[in-house]
Amino acid sequence: MWLRSDTAAATDDANQLPDWLRTSQPTSPAAAAPPPTEPSGPAATGTGEELPPWLRDEAGQPLPTAGAPGDVHLPEWLRGAVTEPPTSPVSEQRRHRPPTPAEPVSPAQLDWFGDAETTETQGRSAGESEFFGGAELPAWLRKAESEPAAEINPADARSLDWLTRLGAIEEESMSAATPTPRLPPRAQPTRSAAQREALTLLERLAAEPFPQATPEPAPAPASLWQRIGLERLLYLLLLVILLVALAVPALTDNLQLETPPEAPGASDLAAQINRLSENDVVMIGYEWDARRISELRPLKEAVLDQLIQKKVKLVLVSTDPQGTLLLFDLRDDLVRANYRTHGEDYILLGYKPGGELALRSLAQDFQGMLRSDFQGNDASEGSLASDVQTGQPRLTSLNDLSMILVLADDSADVQSWMEQVHRSAPQVPLGFLLPAETAPIVQPYLKQQLIYHLAGKQGALAYQQLRSTDAASAALIARDVGQQRLSILIFIGLFVLGAIAVGVAQATTRRRAAP
């Protein structure tokens, strides 16, 4: 009805237009509007001819319920809400505005259709709320509760702040671009005290993500005992006692036992070296450095000095740069023992780079290795490597050697010599002079046939004991043995003392902390 009055008013307005505008004006808005594709209201069902077949009886007459609304047979509480005319400001404006000739009014484009549907939905939901109001609904039918605000870490808070500012800018630009009617401000949700506190915390974290460092309380001044520490005190005690024992050798007299020092492998090695003569050639590998000089120098003095005394021919080689330097020290000993140079009594091959590669090439081409000594001279033509009378080479492979002796400070050296050299010449006796630290690690190699070893200062003293014939050297050995035993005893004593002190301190702390 109200639509018809609007349309009539529009027709009256159109009659007041000038003639030049009337020519382009359609005769009626209804004629200009496209025909509706399907009936859209109760008015369309007013006549029986327009009804679909399923709304007619067998005689083709309309059913008694055809013209009634869909919910007329439903109970009162299930019927839909009464459709009200649109009340939004936009619809009001459109209702009072006459349709312009350029935009003909079409029923499908009317806003009241959508608004009425919305109102109907709202009414329906209101009815449902009233209906289910008294009942206790299951959780899945209740209204979703608002989720509690999650805690935001400072980094997220900063990004949130940035996003908030960005969102505000976007909103402002959008509102400036499209002028829309300004809605009344939404009512602020009521927040609990905990939410307000969380919001305050969030804002504070966004403003200051990193709190200002609070100065730590000054530590209590450490006492003299704490500054020194038990560990340092024990070290100092060990140092002082060892110094005193070294300065006054009489202190260790009681520790010099009557029985001579023993070491595994010492007697076997001594027996093997005793079989050598000045016609034998022994290759010596220097694979140690100055860090193990305290053990390997006594070993070298015990074993190599015996070889030098026996004038055994030597071939000296090293794959360690520091070992090479120590080889030059050995050369001085050889010169003092009247060993002839230029490959007559010994050959100094010097440093062979490459580690395992050098050892492999030594095992595969020993004669080729002799062609370049430490100065680049060919040592294979000397009297040691070849027979002077016949000119035939005496040293063509490792099997021509009488023995191989290696001074090694590391288990890797032992492994390399075993893997690259010994497997190429398994019939040649191989001896290792080792620090005490390395000996247990290489035990599996030392159990094999024709493998000899001597380890640590204890081994050196045991070997010296086997060689010594005079009382002076025996006294020196006894003194060294006494000092070594004393140092071990002192260490064990201080270790036990430290453990007791730490245990007592912990027990005292626990007792104080207990209520």
Binding site: L246, R292, S294, T324, G456, Q484
Partner: protein, 213 residues
């Protein structure tokens, strides 16, 4: 005179190293850096005199054999030099000698380990039971210890089965065998370090006694 200066330097450096006993200090650190620097310098000097110089002199003396013996290694060594600069256009050239070194080294290590370490040790754990009773017992203990120690590292069997419980018990025994072995290692290392300390203290004492005279 020269020996006296050498001894004096050795005494000073020994005291600098021993000063670590009162805590970390500049003297100890200077000695430490000096040791590293001197070791590197020594390695360079040894490499120059023992490797580079003989190779270059042999190469310049001529001969096809010398070229293959020294020229090819020198050329491969030169290919490592592009890695010195920060420009990486030619650094790929260094990959050639490095690949050669790693390839040959790996092959050598694997071959050596199998033939020189694994097979002899496996054979050593399965010695024949002959000889005196002590030796027979030793062989049995060795074989049992090997099995028990290896079972310590057998983690994938469920322990609720009878076999799993047996493995768990043997793993426990193997664990203690390992602890005993580590105890031996520690005791041996202690001997080494106490020998080093005693030797250095003895050196200091002898020097001071000689200086006092």
């Amino acid at each position: 005179m020269t020996q006296a200066i050498i001894d004096l330097i050795a005494v000073i450096l020994t005291i600098m190293v021993l000063s670590r006993i009162v805590g970390d200090n500049p003297l100890f650190r200077v000695a430490q850096y000096l040791f590293v620097g001197v070791s590197l310098g020594l390695a360079f000097v040894v490499s120059y005199h023992q490797v580079l110089r003989p190779a270059v002199s042999s190469l310049t003396s001529g001969g096809a054999n010398n070229f293959s013996l020294y020229g090819v290694p020198l050329l491969l060594g030169l290919l490592l030099l592009p890695r010195i600069t920060r420009r990486q256009e030619y650094s790929w050239l260094a990959n050639i000698p490095l690949a050669l070194i790693f390839g040959v080294g790996s092959a050598l290590a694997v071959g050596g380990a199998i033939a020189g370490t694994l097979l002899p040790q496996i054979l050593d754990t399965a010695r024949p039971l002959n000889g005196d009773p002590a030796q027979i017992i030793g062989v049995i203990v060795l074989a049992l210890g090997t099995v028990l120690t290896l079972s310590t590292f057998y983690y994938t069997i469920p322990q609720d089965s009878p076999t799993g419980r047996l493995v768990a018990i043997s793993a426990l025994i193997g664990h203690w065998l390992l602890m005993i072995a580590f105890g031996f290692f520690f005791a041996s290392a202690l001997q080494t370090y106490l020998s080093a300390l005693t030797e250095r203290l003895s050196f200091l004492l002898q020097w001071f006694q000689g200086f006092a005279r």
